[in-house]
Amino acid sequence: MQTGRPVWITGIGTANPLGVSLAETARNLLAGRPGVRVIDRFDTRKHNSKVAGLVDAIPVPSGWSATDFAELERMDQLATWCGSEALRDSGWWDKRSAIRIGIVLGNGGEWLRLWEADSITGGNRIFDPCQDTATTVQNLKKRFGLSGPAVTVAAACASGNYALAEARKWIQRGWVDVCLAGAVDLTISPLGLASFDNLRALSTKRNDTPQRASRPFDKDRDGFVMSEGGVLFVLESERSARRRGAKGYAEIAGFGASSDAFHLVIPSSDPQPMAAAMRQAMADAGTSADQIDYVNAHATSTPVGDAGESRAIKLALGEFAARVPVSSTKGMTGHLICAAAAMETMACIAAFENQAIPPTINLDELDPECEGLCHVRNNAIQRPVAVALNNSFGFGGSNTCMVLRRIQ
């Protein structure tokens, strides 16, 4: 057992509404530029919510012909782009067959999405189980020729944090040398939009001003804005990264997880379980509230969720809650559902890389229920950022928090 070895992120691949690289995404995050717009992919006239963060075209990875790439199912395209970019960024792509590379992929509703997408294009696979032969993660392992294990995990919006936590453990125990981990989601479809809409979870008041629709912590918020995309990271031990002189974006320093045990959809009004996840993560990282430089909040722009998380942050950080900068980047990105935690891990890395904290945009009038925190309102702030918390909470009452540490 080699538990406790520091694990670094050494590669990043992404496609999201703000960009198809860390640099492009970071520029837009720090400029407070939203990626939300009117959905034009299908007819939304009968839907209450008509806006989303969309990824139009997933780029063709180097070495692929556009024709071959176009033949992949869209989720496979997204995972392939993100995974190959992350491995290239880390320097492992050309050596990937020489080491044990595993994959832990956050992906919660892949069959629902696939069955619907297939049906829309005239397919019948939902009626013919023989056609369902492999998951996205197993396809990716085979496509890349990786020799390590591959697993799908899901905790709804917290999926990406669970994926990174599992990958970290695999590396610490020596089960793999390197691990691809993160999450992908492509939920913006007629069925996905209608299902969330009928849960009354989505913003419906600002279909005409989509860039104003996602407004975490704002008094006039009315629900979240769906979004899509993915982020995959390459994880390896600090020792491995240092030995080959690789760039380290961040250390995955600590992880905490808890459950509300209250309701499948509605967050508990008791802030203790969320705060417990935050405290566990800080303890696992060997850090404390006074050392936290930034909290990337889960805050999705729902009335109940943002207020509950505000209470939990105050409980977990105590007197430091009023001093530690907090923002929700979902004002710009929308809510990437299963890929949200991975997206926000990247937002924390953007903060490390630029020594600046991305803002909560559209925060015009702070909800009194969300007071008591040091909100980064509407404009990024320049300041030293060495340790960040990434909160992600999901349906099923699943609460997670990841501590990320800048590599000096």
């Binding site: 892949e110 392992k141 799908t152 939009l193 299902s195 009928n198 499948l264 349906f395």
Partner: protein
């Protein structure tokens, strides 16, 4: 002579049960799919749950009952749900309805109840579990993915125990457009309580270049758990690591 094997992780299955149910029986079981734990389930608990969740809860309640844990608290435990192809019939029905009405006819319960996290979430609420809860697998390799992940979670020893609930249809439902199956699908479920040290069935993950190639199925796992003393060993391969093995030990 036995092949040289390196143990990567080990734990004990301290309580277990399995069920095998025709899908047609699920509705009858939905309000209370097994023996009562502490108090009867609220009628709302499984009202909109997927059939695999109901079967998983049934196996879980039987495992608690078989072990005599009626008063034990699982508040600080964790739970992982390991389904395969969750939600096929419900999604078929919703896709069919969406052709007439793409918005208002769609169930709001799809996302909470037909996704990979749904079984673990429902169990967490039903048993009052405040530790980690998440879903694993979802596809053909689900059983090996779930067991390896369970061992990874328990090996950390931050929680005293973990429930692993594996479910699948075999045969899979072949739905009519409206969602009703045109065949007679059977749902299999296995529930296992995993602890770092206890008496029970040993669970190991070995690094081994093995001739075993099958990723395991809930159907054969459930059969093993039904009569673990008759067949003392159950194995499945986890591609990229080695072999997951359950061995009955003397108690």
């Amino acid at each position: 002579m036995e092949e040289q094997r390196e143990i990567l992780a080990a734990a004990v299955v301290s309580a277990w049960a399995s069920v095998c149910l025709p899908q047609a029986e699920i509705e009858r079981l939905r309000p209370q799919p097994g023996p009562t734990y502490r108090k009867p389930l609220s009628p709302k608990t499984l009202r909109f749950a997927d059939d695999q969740t109901v079967a998983g809860m049934s196996a879980l309640l039987h495992a608690i009952h078989n072990r005599g844990w009626h008063d034990r608290s699982f508040a600080d435990w964790g739970v992982i749900g390991v389904p395969r192809f969750l939600g096929r019939t419900v999604t078929a029905s919703n896709i069919h309805r969406s052709q007439a009405d793409p918005a208002f006819s769609i169930s709001p319960h799809i996302i909470p109840n037909q996704c990979l996290h749904s079984i673990s979430g429902a169990v967490s609420v039903a048993l009052g579990i405040h530790g980690p809860n998440f879903g694993v697998g979802g596809g053909p390799q689900a059983v090996s993915e779930g067991l390896v992940t369970g061992l990874s979670v328990v090996a950390e020893l931050r929680i005293p125990g973990l429930w692993i609930i594996c479910t699948e249809f075999d045969p899979e439902p072949v739905p009519e457009p409206g969602g009703q199956p045109r065949n007679a699908p059977i749902v299999h479920a296995a529930a296992m309580a995993i602890e770092g040290s206890a008496s029970g069935i040993s669970l190991h993950l070995y690094r081994q270049s093995s001739s075993i190639s099958h990723a395991g199925s809930v159907k054969n796992l459930a059969a093993f758990l039904l009569h673990p003393k008759t067949e003392p060993r159950w194995q499945c391969a986890m591609d990229g690591i080695g072999v997951v093995e359950l061995i009955t030990t003397a108690q």
